[in-house]
């Protein structure tokens, strides 16, 4: 089982990286770009857990380490093993 954790800055937080990337895209001629937010993906391989248990464990991993709730939010997606 593989879980894909998507960690994003909260919408209320200024994303300085996103602003810079947006500016760079505009410089490349992508004038249609309205906003850019940069997040991170954490893929976690899990062994021997059913989907419900896997989700519960990964939620716990997010709460304890992967995500900082002061500035970030997360979503967890369980992936079927297609690699």
């Amino acid at each position: 089982m593989r879980a894909r954790v998507l960690v994003r800055l909260k919408p209320s937080i200024l994303d300085a990286q996103g602003v810079t990337v947006k500016r760079a895209l505009a410089g490349l001629g992508f004038s249609e770009v309205q906003d850019v937010r940069v997040g991170k993906v954490v893929d976690v391989e899990l062994d021997g857990l059913g989907p419900d248990e896997a989700r519960r464990r990964v939620d716990e991993m997010c709460a304890r380490l992967l995500c900082n709730p002061v500035i970030e939010t997360f979503t967890v997606e369980l992936l079927t093993d297609t690699r």
């Binding site: 937080i13 200024l14 300085a16 990286q17 380490l65 900082n68 002061v70 500035i71």
Partner: protein, 237 residues
């Protein structure tokens, strides 16, 4: 008074703190490895600057869950003081021992420069050697020092006098041009509600001798020393 300087993989200011405490303050000081959770011998622990665990995931995130950090609440409950500078401040926020978070500098540049700090609260265990409104000169060296907290947390920090240092101009004005990283309200250092844990982005250990540009950093260490001596709990250890 026994000081401990904590080392994580990637810490870089450990030697500077060790030198200043041992050679400038003439106090007993030992290194503490991050896996060591036995803090019984210490009165004050320093979390120095650096790039613990390469800043992987978030600055201070991995170190914030290490055995030594998890032992800190018990350490402070029995009278110990904890000072975190730079990466140490980031670690304390990640461990939720201090409120808020430190984010990428608004300018996106790594800033290595001298800063001026306004002493907002001289009545803590870490600042009692300072005067109200005193301006200190201390260097910063970081890429992720922009202090952030939500509105409610910020209100509480102000209400309880937990904002200890703010970036200011040389003459003590808290102004935008004196803010090197975009920190909320120019915040450079805060203390926990109990007054036992102080975190700041600047480097007091790099402002400890006149030969290297100033001694204002020693005011923090002298304050700690004064507190510990007066408290006397070291006698019962």
């Amino acid at each position: 008074m026994n000081f401990g300087v904590v080392i994580f993989p990637g810490t870089w200011s450990d030697c500077d703190f060790h030198y200043v405490i041992g050679e400038v303050l003439h106090q007993p000081v030992r290194y503490v490895w991050h896996r060591d959770a036995n803090l019984a011998d210490f009165d004050c622990l320093i979390l120095p600057g650096g790039f613990s665990y390469g800043d992987y995931l978030r600055a201070g995130a991995v170190a914030g869950r290490s055995p030594v950090v998890e032992a800190l609440p018990e350490f402070t409950a029995r009278g110990g003081l904890v000072l975190g500078s730079c990466n140490g401040f980031q670690i304390l926020c990640e461990a939720r021992l201090l409120p808020g978070a430190l984010m990428r500098n608004e300018c996106l540049q790594y800033r290595c420069q001298s800063t001026y700090l306004l002493v907002e609260n001289p009545e803590t265990s870490f600042t009692r050697a300072m005067r109200p409104g005193q301006v200190l000169k201390m260097p910063i060296s970081h890429g992720e020092g922009k202090y952030h907290a939500d509105a409610e947390t910020l209100r509480r920090l102000w209400a309880k006098n937990q904002i200890v240092f703010r970036y200011c101009t040389e003459d003590g004005r808290v102004a935008k041009e004196a803010n090197p990283n975009g920190s909320l309200d120019n915040i450079a250092g805060i203390i926990n509600e109990e007054g036992t844990v102080l975190g700041l982005m600047p480097h007091p250990e790099r402002a400890a001798e006149a030969a290297v540009g100033g001694t204002d950093g020693t005011l923090i260490l002298h304050s700690i020393l004064g507190t510990l001596v007066e408290d006397g709990s070291f006698l019962k250890r």
